[in-house]
């Protein structure tokens, strides 16, 4: 579909160029020219520097400057590794899957450029287990093609640089999207997060220096190296340059992935690209970064989608996975859905997350089944207050913003489920067995 904001897609190029997943088609459209330029005309530091100058920030959610991250890799420790986080498991996120299914070579080229920049000769792409078919089909085919053409393997473009790339599948664990949990999982352990420091840049995979980047991030590297930082900065804003793939889901007419320059207002995504809300209903809340994000009220719909503006509006850009709730949706039900997700996915390592999600699930269920009291609504607040800042990893912390903002914006819906009668009439002792 044509996107009026971009003459040509930077990342979703398959929407402009048919069959670009095939290496011959990709080669006919500047394919692997960035790699050739990088290897033949640029030093590894040059590559890192152009990525720094482009202002590219991590697209997995954290938004950390990519070139700066590469700069942390110590030069004198070997071997080094590039590990790609393709674990895409956040409810509402499905962008990396489309890149790998439809434009895999641009991504693979970016991974090789990253390896060259940091001096790694081995790359692992860690995908969620549900990408089994993709990893045994399209992605493996693309890697095989790249080997056949000499873009992977020994002495690429007759240089001293050699690089191998392997696919590795997880097996159904959201926590493995956390980079240190991912590394543990890749090492054959349970996917539980590690203490930091040491950071993966110094002691990552097999305790060696490791860059961990997201799929979309590395797909950006290819056009940045080919066209330069100034070209890249024509898109987006000063502090958030480039384009971003937004995964749009929920109560809109045309859910899907849409690539937009950073700084595009949310309204444009929902109304123009997404075709507005089903049955012409009103927006109730926007979850801009999947299940782990704050609820932004409908009054925030004109917020520009860049890292700074979203944070200032009380949300976060994260991986730009916009879940849209409309006025027909009950806020408590929606929050309960996400709380249950986090309970299911808690890795069990730390008690604030393990116990917090357990208790939250129980209190939500009690409220929704008609046994709630006002104290239960307050109990939800107490639980998230105890979780906030106390979880071992960020994924535990992710539970808090959604619940807190749901309560702030829609407290009346919670209180309408609480009844004074329950305080006196319900046999609380039995309820404990039912709900806790």
């Amino acid at each position: 579909m044509a996107n009026p904001l971009l003459k040509e897609h930077v990342l979703l190029r398959h929407r402009d160029i048919e069959d670009i997943h095939k290496i011959d088609v990709y080669l006919a459209h500047d394919g692997y020219r960035a790699l050739e330029k990088g290897l033949k005309e640029m030093t590894p530091d040059d590559v890192t520097n152009v990525v720094k100058a482009s202002g590219l920030r991590g697209r997995g959610g954290a938004g950390f400057p990519t070139g700066v991250k590469w700069g942390f890799i110590p030069k004198n420790l070997n071997p080094k590794y590039v590990v790609v986080n393709a674990d895409e498991s956040e409810p509402g996120t499905f962008k990396d899957r489309e890149i790998m299914e439809s434009n895999p070579h641009q991504f693979i080229e970016g991974v090789i450029l990253c390896a060259y920049a940091v001096g790694a000769e081995t790359c692992y792409i860690y995908g969620r287990g549900e990408f089994w078919t993709l990893f045994h089909g399209r992605m493996q085919e693309a890697i095989d093609e790249a080997y056949e053409k000499g873009f992977l393997g020994k002495n690429i473009f007759d240089t001293d640089f050699s690089c191998d790339m392997y696919l590795h599948l997880g097996a159904g664990a959201y926590i493995c999207g956390e980079e240190t949990a991912l590394l543990n999982s890749l090492e054959g352990l349970m996917g539980q997060p590690r203490s930091r420091p040491p950071f993966p840049a110094v002691a990552g995979l097999y305790a060696k220096p490791t860059v961990v980047n997201n799929v979309e991030t590395l797909a950006n590297v290819t056009p940045i190296v080919l066209h330069g930082a100034d070209w890249y900065r024509q898109f987006g804003t000063e502090k958030s340059p480039g384009t971003k793939i937004c995964s749009l889901s929920g109560r809109v007419n045309r859910p899907g992935n849409y690539e937009v320059p950073l700084g595009t207002p949310i309204r444009y995504l929902i109304e123009e690209l997404g075709g507005g809300i089903i049955d012409g209903k009103a927006v109730k809340a926007i979850l801009p970064a999947g299940a782990s994000s704050s609820n932004m009220g409908a009054d925030k719909i004109d917020t520009p989608m860049d890292y700074e503006s979203m944070a200032a509006a009380g949300g976060m850009l994260g991986s730009a996975s916009f879940i849209i709730l409309d006025e027909t949706i009950n806020a408590v039900w929606a929050a309960e859905k996400n709380v249950k997700f986090f309970k299911h996915e808690s890795c069990g390592k730390c008690s604030p997350c393990r116990e917090g999600t357990f208790w939250l699930t129980s209190v939500y269920r009690k409220l929704r089944e008609g046994y709630g009291t006002k104290q239960d609504v307050e109990l939800i607040e107490t639980i998230i207050n105890q979780m906030e800042g106390n979880c071992f990893c960020l994924l535990g912390e992710f539970v808090v913003p959604g619940v807190r903002t749901s309560l702030e914006l829609f407290r009346n819906e919670y209180e309408s489920l609480a009844s004074e009668e329950n305080e006196v009439d319900q046999p609380q002792k039995d309820l404990i067995h039912t709900f806790f």
Binding site: S89, G92, W132, A171, E187, G188, S247, S249, I323, A334
Partner: protein, 166 residues
Amino acid sequence: MGWTEKEQQDLEKILKKYPADRKLSAVLPALYLAQREKNWLDDDDIEAVAEALGIETTHVHSIIGFYTLFRKEPVGKYMMEVCTDLPCALRGAEDFFKRLCERMGLGPKGGTTEDNLFTVEEVVCIAACDKAPCMQINLEFFESLTDEQIDEVVAGLRAQASNNGA
């Protein structure tokens, strides 16, 4: 179980991906390989994986317990995993799941059909939120589903299974 010749070759290919002294990295791919035939892992499978990688069976058990895609109990030949997380639920996935269970003659929480061909279960996000209702059957995506499509898919799989003499 013993590994078949083909599986033995696959296993060697898998092990080549990782440094020689890091065989443990192959535990997930080895478990996928062991589970491929019947969709779940019995004690022999678990022992075979442990032996192939030179690790304790206890460790293999801990991995199976941690990751949801491995199973220690028998399931159907076809695992139907329906996402009912928030984005999918906003597009009717919960009702879809209920109807699917009814159509398969199962209770509201899913389970395995009497002929042991299908296991239906609710799962969390599978990265197909824009195409709800969606599910995976043996890790293959089926998206933007209608009830009629489900009937077709199920009929197709039943025919496939009976042709294979299952």
